[in-house]
Symmetry: C2
């Protein structure tokens, strides 16, 4: 009897591409490889002791609630805590504006489910976050790329993109994944005004906003939008869905993130989430709340900033020392990634195999350009490796780049 | 300035209905209401001490792995444990046949994503599980209902349904939600043969299979399928995707479930899950593994069976005592639910408000019939309430039914 699935039902399964990054991660898990490919937080900043205490307290004090089914919108004390913290950054929201999601990846998926019909267009920064593309490809999205410079999305080129028609605009304003670039305040204002003018909502994905090493905090796009609307005093009811996560503040293995938006939008998001996974783990939400209350996050984020700044500095220094001058790089003021541009004609995807042979890995930039381009770019993560490993890995990359550039 | 979402973008959001059950749950959360409406496990069977020890051990011994990103397919030792347990029930599988999901709800959603295009048909038992309908409505499914009797789906009526064309057949063979009915072995064999003949896969949803109070264990549909194919010795590669969950064996607040199927199907499921939530919480998977290893599940499932059997018995006894003879009910041999049928002409949805006024609640059966019908039926949960509350709640329902029947 033949194998039914492969031969008989393959045509029933809709096309869906695996994630290049995850394939790479498998390749680069040999211990001798220094990998700048992943997007992993440094394990040394995980608050292990605090999670142990929190898990134990939650199960001692609220065992039934922690182990039972919960509401789809999420654990109320956690949503109230997020509301309180958002107010500090200028965003006036109540718990009704906040939905807990199973990682920000789920929020991206739910947004696709709510907004995207096959063939719909989404305006993206070019390059942009691969996880969003992966989520929205499943709903049949196509993309309108807007180029970036050192101030992020070039808003003067946004209007022509908007004229092509789009369901929403997707931006990662702070220390963007993959570029490391931050959208300037002026550009945020232009973005908000243009989006309002064309009646197109904005998805603001901000996993790293609090992990800034230097320079002034810039208000989230949602806050700029709220100010643009003159929404003094009332809860947020504007044009932006703001996403953030505890993955980068506490630990990604917990899978707790949140979305903020107008109440009417959150209601739809919660309905979509019901069908997707009923709710995010009650136990995890309560543990995150226990860890986060009493201002632990404020102290902890300082540790993360110091750790990642040291690693970014080690990386910039090593790049200055080992990279040929023809190679360009961004200078991220926070977050976990920077972006490297090789001279025209070099292909980072072709180079990848040679890099792995030299025991160093990155993500070829082409994968972050869903409409093509970026062949000579790469994403480099600086949060995961130690400063010593960073120096050694960048030296290896420097040798490879020199070999490739000077043989040309 | 107007509220942008409500007025300007509402048309951009695809239609999606909220869950009637969850709305009911809110209504019935007053402490004086005895609710048979939810589908909640009894909190008294949650293995709290075991989870405390497991969480503490996982964070002490493997803190980095528990708090870091994990693989989409799931924690390997847990998948191996599931493979080993599945072998006991006659299903020969390796870890490659098993994917961890964030609750079975997510598996249902991913199956919708893989198989259902707008307008596609799904063959269901009538009535069927509401969560599946909710998941697949989002992908635009329509339904072909097959009626049930005391032996489950009436397979002699399946062939005409198959002739209408369907992407897959969805069955809950053991102690079905909502009916409490179990699919007989003969019907399982007929189902497998018909599905094979028409080249239509089967989704077997089995959250309660191990929670049997009486009678003989019946092999899962996947095992019947494997035997039908003469797959002696080789890993499962057949026509069934089998779903089960730790929600009913351990605790639903942990959100850890699993899918079993041919390797080729699991690869597609994992690709879809990447876009949906990257992976299920590493910490939770490891905690579930720690709790489950060393055969704790075997001991624990005996406690669940004894507890639920006592409650089911209390319910059957109370129904015999308090319900008028015109009211029919199923006799579940396991699980958490039974189904009540009122005389024709009575409407359980209309009665619901009167029931809540008498401080007792159920789920009107119409919601489990996505193509209409079932107005005179209701789902009654017996796992959550104590035997004393069950007796009192059924007495209240008995009074209501008598009032309604004898006034007619």
């Amino acid at each position: 009897m033949e194998t039914p699935w492969e031969y008989r039902y393959a045509h029933r399964m809709k096309g869906m591409k695996g994630s290049f990054i995850r394939e790479i991660l498998k390749l680069t898990q040999k211990p001798e490889v220094i990998s700048f490919a992943g997007g992993l937080p440094a394990p040394k900043v995980f608050p292990v002791k605090e999670f142990q205490e929190a898990a134990s307290r939650v199960l001692a004090e609220h065992p039934e609630q922690a182990l039972q089914y919960g509401t789809t919108e999420g654990y109320l004390p956690l949503r109230e805590l997020i509301a309180k913290r958002s107010a500090r950054y200028g965003l006036k929201v109540s718990a009704a504006n906040i939905s807990i999601t199973s990682g920000s990846q789920q929020a991206l998926d739910l947004i696709g489910r709510l907004f995207i019909n096959r063939g719909d267009r989404v305006i993206i920064e070019n390059p942009t976050y691969l996880g969003a593309i992966q989520a929205w490809n499943a709903y049949g999205a196509s993309y309108i790329p807007v180029p970036m410079d050192d101030e992020g999305m070039i808003t003067s080129k946004l209007e022509s993109a908007l004229r092509k028609g789009a369901k929403f605009i997707y931006v990662l304003p702070n220390f963007q994944n993959p570029s490391g670039v931050t959208l300037s305040l002026k550009r945020r204002q232009e973005l908000v005004e243009l989006a309002d003018h064309y009646g197109v909502p904005i998805i603001e994905d901000d996993p790293y906003g609090q992990i800034r090493f230097e320079g002034e905090h810039i208000p989230p796009v949602a806050v700029v939008d709220s100010e643009f609307r003159g929404q003094n005093g009332s809860f947020y009811d504007g044009n932006v869905i703001y996403l953030s996560t505890f993955s980068k503040l506490l630990a990604p293995g917990i899978r707790v993130a949140w979305a903020i938006g107008a109440e009417s939008v959150m209601r739809r998001l919660v309905q979509a989430k019901q069908g997707a996974d009923l709710h995010t783990s009650s136990f995890n939400q309560m543990a995150v709340y226990e860890v986060s209350k009493n201002d632990f996050l404020d102290e902890h984020v300082k540790v993360i900033r110091a750790t990642y700044k040291e690693r970014r500095d080690a990386m910039l220094e090593a790049m200055d020392e080992f990279f040929p001058t023809e190679v360009q790089r961004t200078h991220p003021a926070g977050g976990m990634f920077l972006f490297v541009t090789l001279p025209e004609g070099l292909d980072a995807t072709e180079l990848f195999e040679k890099a792995v042979k030299k025991n160093v890995a990155y993500v070829p930039g082409a994968v972050f350009h869903p409409t093509g381009g970026g062949e000579n770019t790469m994403r480099i993560n600086f949060s995961y490796s130690t400063p010593e490993a960073i120096r050694e890995g960048i030296a290896r990359l420097g040798i490879l780049f020199k070999e490739e550039i000077y043989k040309k």
